[in-house]
């Protein structure tokens, strides 16, 4: 569903993404790991067509993101990193806006809103404005927005950031439940999350793909079988060198 080929992105002289390639098919959950500022968000924004790539190609569901952005975006639900929302809108108004932009109207829209409100546990705050929500609720409202059209592809930038442990658990369950039907990419700093929810992992460091495989394969690289040691072994020496 998602095909990324030799993707590069420069911001001025800074190389943010350097020759990244991968595919994600339906039923796969790809975990994006990497230190802060390693290029995870930039890669996701390019897949969403928000940043144009400097070179390389991205296609979603067979549609090239640069040439057919609208067709590609229709297939995708996206949760941006900071989980933004219009502060003065109610949760219901915001979801209704997202649904209409996704082409849902009338009964279809109503059913879609009810479905995501239930999925993301927003029943108690439906009529509250977004600026009065706690961080966890705000995050889940934005997550609900990304699911409103039941997309075939889901891209989530740190979906569990700012959630309490119970909410984190729920979101991971949600990802696992949706996994068989969708192609999912999510980024995270939390290594247990990868083990729990992903079928495949990519580790990115300073714009480059430094490792890729199933969680089990990556764990096998370390004598102790712990993912965080593998992560450190791969990304730390570079960070130290850079410093």
């Amino acid at each position: 569903m998602i095909k990324v080929e030799n993707l590069c992105k420069n911001f001025g002289a800074k190389i943010a993404v350097n020759d990244v390639s991968f595919n994600v098919e339906k039923g796969e959950v790809l975990g994006f790991l990497g230190p802060n500022g390693s290029g995870k968000s930039t890669t996701m924004r390019i897949i969403m067509g928000y940043y144009p790539p400097t070179s390389g190609r991205v296609s979603v569901g067979g549609f090239d993101v640069s040439d057919h952005p609208i067709e590609a975006k229709r297939l995708v639900g996206y949760l941006p990193e900071s989980a933004p929302g219009y502060a003065d809108m109610t949760v219901h108004g915001f979801l209704s806006f997202a649904a209409e932009l996704r082409g849902l109207n009338g009964a279809g829209k109503k059913a879609a809103i009810e479905r995501v409100v239930e999925m993301c546990f927003l029943q108690n705050v439906v009529h509250q404005t977004i600026d009065t929500l706690s961080k966890g609720y705000k995050h889940r409202t934005c997550l609900a927005q990304s699911l409103i059209h039941d997309p075939q592809v889901l891209i989530m930038d740190e979906p569990t950031d700012g959630l309490d442990p119970n909410q984190k658990h729920e979101v991971r369950n949600l990802i696992r439940r949706m996994a068989p039907e969708k192609a999912i990419i999510f980024s995270t700093h939390i290594l247990e999350e990868v083990e729990e929810a992903c079928t495949r992992v990519i580790i990115i460091d300073r714009g480059r793909m430094v490792a890729s495989g199933t969680p089990a394969e990556l764990k096998a690289r370390s004598p102790s079988g712990k993912l965080d040691e593998v992560f450190r072994a791969i990304t730390l020496p570079d960070t130290v060198k850079a410093a």
Binding site: K9, P69, P80, Y86
Partner: protein, 247 residues
Amino acid sequence: MSAWHNIKTIMKRELGGYFTSPIAYVFLIIFLLLTGFFTFTIGNFFERGEASLVSFFTWHPWLYLFLVPAVGMRLWSEERRLGTMELLLTMPVTPWQAIIGKFLASWLFLALALALTFPVWITVNWLGAPDNGIILSGYVGSLLLAGSYLAISSMTSAMTRNQVISFILSVVICLFLILAGYTPVTDLLIKFAKPVVVDIVASFSVMTHFEGFQRGVMDLRDFAFFASVIGFALFTTSVIIRSQRAG
């Protein structure tokens, strides 16, 4: 999922945003108070002894100078500050649909403010027999003037996430568009430059093109001027939005 459907959805949300916050009410009240004050007190509406809205329309370029950028400054800076711009532009909409939807929403809001000045029109019809064709032409010109300032505010708003900077920049640009054709300035210019040059400078001014509307002359060239300002400013908005993402 037509283009118009997307524009309408974005427009509805934007317009709703004005009315769910106090902005709409504060703006409408201030606008109506100020138009009343300028028309009747400063403009000597009653002492003029003529049934026209000259003293009403003549203040609009100056009144809009501060009020329109106040409406337009949040258009894009707010989206950037909240991060919703990323959300909006990763929806299946084109940047153009978003730009036009947002612009039309705020223009519609200004049209509402302008429509609420109807008591002035009733007053002048009550007191005398004005030429309502001239008044209609004045309203059309005023709306186009507001649209031009607004498109400029949309442009400056796309430049920064800071609404204050956006406001000041658009006031300065709009002020230039006024002064280039403001009589005291052209009188000064004529001492240094050839009349042709002064005319060219003045032809960039909203004053020159708004004047005809106030006299009841709806000239195609004046329409073309305001349409070009709006078109140019919105096009620049799209370029700015694109370049910010290109890195």
